[in-house]
């Protein structure tokens, strides 16, 4: 997947989890848990959806590495087959 595809995928997942959020106002370098009022169940759902959409499994210890839009995209880019 390309970077833009991964970014669109992540934003799509966020839209499903937080449909009321204005993602155009999302700061890609600020933790989305604070911006989108996500709870731990939301985050788990997000990880499930990310794995389903990209094939990348994010271990719990790496959650801090995927806590912003930009860091999440970079993390997934480094682990998707095309990127490698």
């Amino acid at each position: 997947m390309s970077e833009s595809e991964i970014r669109a995928t992540v934003l799509g997942i966020l839209t499903r989890i937080a449909p009321e959020a204005d993602l155009t106002a999302l700061d890609p370098d600020v933790e989305w848990q604070d911006q989108l009022d996500l709870d731990s169940m939301n985050l788990l759902t997000m990880m499930v959806d990310i794995e389903r959409a990209t094939g990348v499994t994010v271990p719990e210890r790496d959650y801090p590495k995927v806590s912003t839009l930009n860091s999440c995209v970079a993390y997934l880019m480094s682990r998707t087959p095309v990127a490698q």
Partner: protein, 426 residues
């Protein structure tokens, strides 16, 4: 109309999912009901045939009103005699043919007020006698002499059920006295679905109605329940390490989150300390057999709802995760089921994800206890003369002094802590 929360007085039947003559099986969803808080799915608690629908789509009726008549397969109640009106599941009585059609609520009210139902003209669906008809008849009879007893408080009822062969019923909480200023029912909009511009007004109305309903319930709780509060810091180090190790062996979808461990610990502690688990009405406490934990869930876009996870103390962590995911998802998409809203016996609220350290909760009447959890934070922790850093959560208890005192409440919090020190046993 089932009671779908202690603050619910009435509901709007928004959609029937069955028609007369349909065969239904226990657990089937037969209708959608709109309340001030959400749209919920009404389940049927017995297998049978829908003989008659008593409430029309779009009709708003008080809780306790019979929605439909369900008969056992093969019964022919329609053939000769008037159709049976089902007793509410709260009574757990067999359906009995009756001479006059009246909702269970109207029937009980009539008995209490001394109104002869044979003399009352029904204005409900197909001439059924409603609560309003009974009240009107009572006021007409006693225009000069007011009744000695006040009008009855609505009682909890799940109207579409044939409970004769039911297993022991889940406790159905008594409905508290109606608030004087409860909001009118609002047009429900799925809390989570993207809202088209044309429905923003309705959504805002629903949120306002939900806020008023929550406010009314909480005000009543604070006025009527003598709260006391306790708090303790719990070392979650063992529990979280155990969970993290367990998650390494699990798929992403099967991972545990701390909330599941906390819920299970509360469930088991409530089993150990039954004074925390049940309902108090008119200063009388009723211990409930099952531990059904209400999970305070914030709705995206605003609002609060507390659906129940049943028999928490009996379930595995995996099952609790599944149930937790289900109730949260349903709460946020407006698809809760009636069974999930009718009978929590204790409530847990967890605001840790919002950064809150300590929760001072308001008891969800007629329950008698609410447990609050804050954020898990690293703290200096002294134990056996050694100082270390531990992951700690502040657990609080709001409890009802009519039922327990601080000593018992302290035992309850200690039990929660003790269970969390042995996570493998949860």
């Amino acid at each position: 109309m089932p009671v779908l929360g202690a603050d619910m007085e009435r509901g709007t039947l928004s959609r029937w999912r069955v028609t007369e003559g349909d065969h239904v099986t226990k657990g089937d969803i037969i209708a959608d009901v709109d309340t001030d808080k959400a749209t919920m799915e009404v389940e049927v608690f017995e297998t049978g045939v829908v003989e008659r629908l008593l409430v029309q789509e779009g009709e708003t009726v008080p809780v306790g009103t019979a929605l439909a008549v369900l008969v056992a397969a093969g019964e022919t109640a329609m053939a000769a005699s008037p159709s049976p009106v089902l007793a509410p599941s709260g009574d757990r009585a067999a359906a009995q043919p009756v001479r006059v059609e009246a909702s269970p609520l109207a029937r009980r009210l009539a008995a209490k007020l001394g109104v002869d139902l044979d003399a009352v003209r029904g204005t409900g669906p197909r001439g059924a006698i409603t609560r309003g008809d009974v009240e009107q008849a009572a006021s007409a009879v006693s225009a000069a002499t007011p009744p000695a007893t006040p009008p009855a408080t609505p009682v909890a009822a799940l109207s579409v059920a044939v409970p004769a062969e039911s297993p022991p019923a889940r406790a159905t909480p008594p409905t508290p006295a109606p608030a004087e200023s409860l909001p009118p029912p609002a047009t429900a909009v799925a809390a989570h679905a993207p809202v088209p511009a044309s429905t923003h007004g309705a959504d805002a109305d629903r949120r306002a109605a939900m806020r008023r309903a929550t406010g009314a319930l909480m005000a009543r709780s604070k006025q009527q329940i003598p709260h006391y509060y306790l708090g303790t810091h719990i070392d979650l180090g063992h529990a979280l390490r155990w969970m993290e190790e367990a998650n390494l062996e699990r798929s992403v979808a099967q991972r545990l989150i701390p909330a599941a461990l906390l819920l299970k610990a509360v469930g088991r502690a409530a089993r150990d300390v039954p004074q925390m688990n049940g309902f108090c009405v008119d200063d009388e406490f009723r211990i409930v057999d099952g531990v059904h934990v209400g999970v305070a869930t914030s709705l995206r876009g605003g609002g609060l709802i507390a659906p129940a996870i049943h028999d928490v103390d009996q379930k595995s962590l995996d099952q609790l995760m599944e149930d937790l995911r289900d109730v949260v998802e349903r709460a946020r998409t407006g698809t809760l089921r009636s069974s999930q809203m009718s009978d929590p016996t204790i409530t847990v609220t967890n605001l840790g994800d919002q950064g809150v350290e300590t929760v001072f909760g308001v008891i969800y009447a007629p329950q008698v206890a609410l447990v609050g959890f804050g954020r898990v934070i690293e703290r200096p922790w002294a134990e056996n003369g050694l100082l270390g850093v531990r992951r700690v959560v502040h657990a609080t208890l709001s409890a009802d002094h009519r039922v327990s005192d601080g000593h018992i409440g302290g035992r309850f919090l200690s039990a929660i802590s003790n269970y969390l020190q042995e996570p493998a046993s949860l």
